[in-house]
């Protein structure tokens, strides 16, 4: 008895640190109480109606809950295929494919740059034969698949189309998403390959092709998640992402796209971090801003093309390696914010995701968290349950103002493309990240278990550690060499030559050529090498 008591951790700590300052993490001052006269937009309108502050559907989640989409994939296609089948059996409704860095950056597994990274942060997918294994026994006409892929998005999408062709699934039945948002890669995620302008061309190619060939597929997911996780505030996250969205719209219009048509397939992707009301209000504000911009700036009349559809990740850098089980609570609160904010799909991070690939145990808790919010919390029973709250409407207005201010700053710089080419946005983000860090260091921002409320002798152990099979990368290389022996190499060369001819013409859509390359089992590295020869590589502006 005495021994057990001694072992008990001290959990009776008082809240000795003063309450947090009444300011949101984006720097918006919060009044002690919001009274009706302080609210500009007292009637936020109806969900499903312009400007969609309260949501894009009139009945919210009544007809259909959000898509539960957990990010997973590692090692070989065979291992990932087994994990996907497990997740589908557990009730997951969509797949999300994580790719390894060589695939994301356009290096084949045998490239010296690739070797240490094969299968590390996702599955290695160097050519169509690997994708055939990845989706073996999975009906592509029924399951929606999301690929977190950017630099090589056009190639992976072409591979997916070719994979469906091979399996006899009609292209028009394909559903899913490719991230395909290169602009934020230059700012935060780093899997860029080509210079900005040819990259924008590839994105326009995928969207225009997809609108016709795979009309139910989302050919882009314009992502604020990565800049946010890197250090941007919620206001900046929305502002940068909306600005990137406008850059894509402009490029598509320049290429002759019909905005009333392609805008229906644009979707967005964000992080949800811990300040619940700011998170809810950023989504309400962004829905309104996007709808207004499309209507007023581009004359979009079809309401379906004005909709701001988005998925989210809950967790990321809001999670800590210190006292990792606290992350389960954080993710639960963030999931509630995502649902109250009206997300179309949600990915919940596992509590150990801050430092490793999740284990099956932690991945299951993450999935169950969403199911608890969906089926037990009662939140999805009515649309926008916080709508009409004086505080929520007030904060939504303030978020909208602040987001528009940052967008105006980018416009003043000349738009996102020069801001990225010059390294201006990157620098701004690095400084913001440093400042966020200093606030944690100085306890201005309290992170429970990390900079405050630590147990005596706290050791931040993680329990079970997931280890990759060390033989996985050897198997990937073996399979790579085998397909290069087995395929018709002359046909590969012909398909690559045709791709290059098309790439030399400015307005030729490259997608049909890329699909042809994939059908011939050309590899991601081979395709990228040819296109690099044509377009060069992005020269990173290193500014500090």
């Amino acid at each position: 008895m005495a021994a057990a008591e001694q072992k008990k951790p001290v959990l009776s700590e008082e809240l000795t640190i003063p309450p947090p300052a009444p300011v949101t993490p984006s720097g918006i001052e919060i009044p002690v109480v919001v009274t009706p006269d302080m609210v500009k937009n007292r009637d936020p309108g109806r969900p499903g109606e312009y400007p969609f502050t309260r949501g894009i559907f009139p009945d919210g989640y009544r007809g259909r809950l959000w898509t539960i989409r957990q990010y997973s994939g590692f090692g070989t296609a065979e291992e990932s295929n087994a994990r996907y089948k497990f997740l589908l059996d557990q009730g997951q409704t969509g797949l999300s494919v994580a790719l390894d860095l060589p695939t994301q950056c356009g290096f084949d597994p045998v490239d010296p740059m690739a070797r240490p990274e094969i299968g590390k942060v996702g599955v290695s997918l160097s050519n169509l034969s690997e994708m055939e294994v990845l989706f073996e026994g999975i009906d592509l006409g029924r399951i929606s698949t999301s690929f977190t892929i950017n630099g090589t998005a056009a190639i992976i999408y072409a591979m997916y189309v070719a994979c469906a062709d091979k399996k006899g699934v009609p292209r028009e039945k394909l559903t899913g998403t490719i991230q395909n948002d290169i602009l934020k890669e230059y700012v935060a995620r780093g899997t860029w390959i080509f210079p900005v302008r040819p990259s924008l061309r590839l994105i326009a190619d995928t969207i225009l092709f997809s609108n016709e060939a795979t009309p139910r597929f989302n050919p882009i997911s314009i992502a604020g998640a990565h800049v946010r996780d890197a250090g941007a505030t919620a206001v900046e996250e929305m502002a940068y992402t909306l600005a990137n969205g406008l850059a894509y719209v402009d490029e598509l219009i320049r290429r002759g796209g019909d905005v009333d048509k392609f805008a229906k397939r644009l979707s967005f992707f964000f992080y949800v971090h811990m300040d619940l009301f700011e998170e809810v209000c950023k989504f309400r504000a962004a829905r309104r801003i996007w709808a207004r911009l499309l209507k007023e700036r581009y004359g979009v009349t079809d309401p379906k093309a004005q909709l701001f559809r988005f998925g989210v990740v809950c967790g990321g850098s809001s999670l800590t390696a210190a006292q990792p089980y606290n992350n389960i609570v954080r993710v639960a609160i963030e999931t509630m914010a995502a649902v109250m904010g009206g997300a179309q799909s949600i990915f919940t991070c596992a509590y150990d995701e801050a430092f490793q690939i999740p284990t099956e145990f932690s991945a299951e808790i993450a999935l169950r968290t969403q199911q608890i919010v969906a089926y037990e919390s009662g939140i999805p029973k009515t649309v926008d349950p916080l709508g009409g709250s004086y505080f929520v409407e007030y904060l939504t207005d303030r978020m909208e103002e602040k987001i528009l201010e940052v967008m105006a700053e980018i416009d003043e710089y000349g738009g996102v493309v020069p801001a990225i080419e010059d390294g201006w946005l990157q620098m701004r983000l690095a400084e913001r990240a440093r400042d966020r860090r200093r606030k944690i260091d100085s306890l201005e921002t309290v992170v429970v278990g990390q900079n405050a409320f630590r147990r005596e002798n706290q050791k931040d152990d993680f329990g079970e550690v997931f280890r990759l099979d060390p033989k996985a990368s050897a198997r990937v290389i073996e399979k790579y060499n085998a397909i290069r022996d087995r395929r018709d190499n002359a046909a590969v060369e012909r398909s690559l030559d045709r791709l290059c001819e098309a790439a030399a013409k400015e307005d030729e859509n490259l997608m049909p050529y890329l699909v042809e390359c994939c059908h011939a089992y050309a590899t991601v590295g081979e395709i990228v090498k040819r296109l690099k020869a044509q377009w060069g590589e992005f020269q990173e502006p290193v500014r500090l």
């Binding site: 740059m113 240490p116 490793q356 440093r434 990390q450 500090l544």
Partner: protein, 138 residues
């Protein structure tokens, strides 16, 4: 923002911050670079996707006092070993190598045995990183 007590701790030091491998998460590297500069150091940042050979060459050419490698993709075992090997080959084994990022505790012993002079986890206070570096560089 920066702590006044720390403004001169690294004055006169030249430090190379490098991103080996394909990992594109550079914000940690940049935060450290800014923090070291705030502490008076002269910081050179390589940018993304550098090979260990390139990093060793820059370290020698720029005559730096320390190299900091930032890695979050899980490839630190291989890439740190290669970088130290390249420094040795370039006759620069005396330049201390520090590592930061997502480095599981169980890999620390291995990295130290390779000759790594210090490992900074992502949850350390910036002032502590600066202080430890200043102590190590004398």
């Amino acid at each position: 923002m920066s702590d006044t007590a720390n403004k001169t701790l690294l004055r006169g030091k030249r430090i190379l911050i490098a991103k080996p491998g394909l990992d594109g998460h550079d914000i940690g590297a940049k935060i450290i670079a800014l923090a070291l500069r705030d502490a008076g150091a002269e910081v050179i940042y390589t940018g993304l996707r550098k090979t260990p050979r390139y990093i060793a060459r820059v370290a020698v050419d720029e005559d730096v006092d320390a190299v900091g490698l930032s890695m979050l993709s899980g490839s630190h075992r291989e890439l740190v070993a290669e970088t130290i090997e390249e420094l040795r080959a370039a006759d620069a084994a005396d330049i201390p190598v520090f590592v930061g990022g997502t480095i599981p505790a169980e890999d620390h012993a291995y990295l130290r045995q390779l000759g790594v002079a210090g490992i900074f986890t992502s949850e350390m206070r910036l002032d502590d990183v600066v202080a430890e570096l200043a102590r190590a560089l004398g």
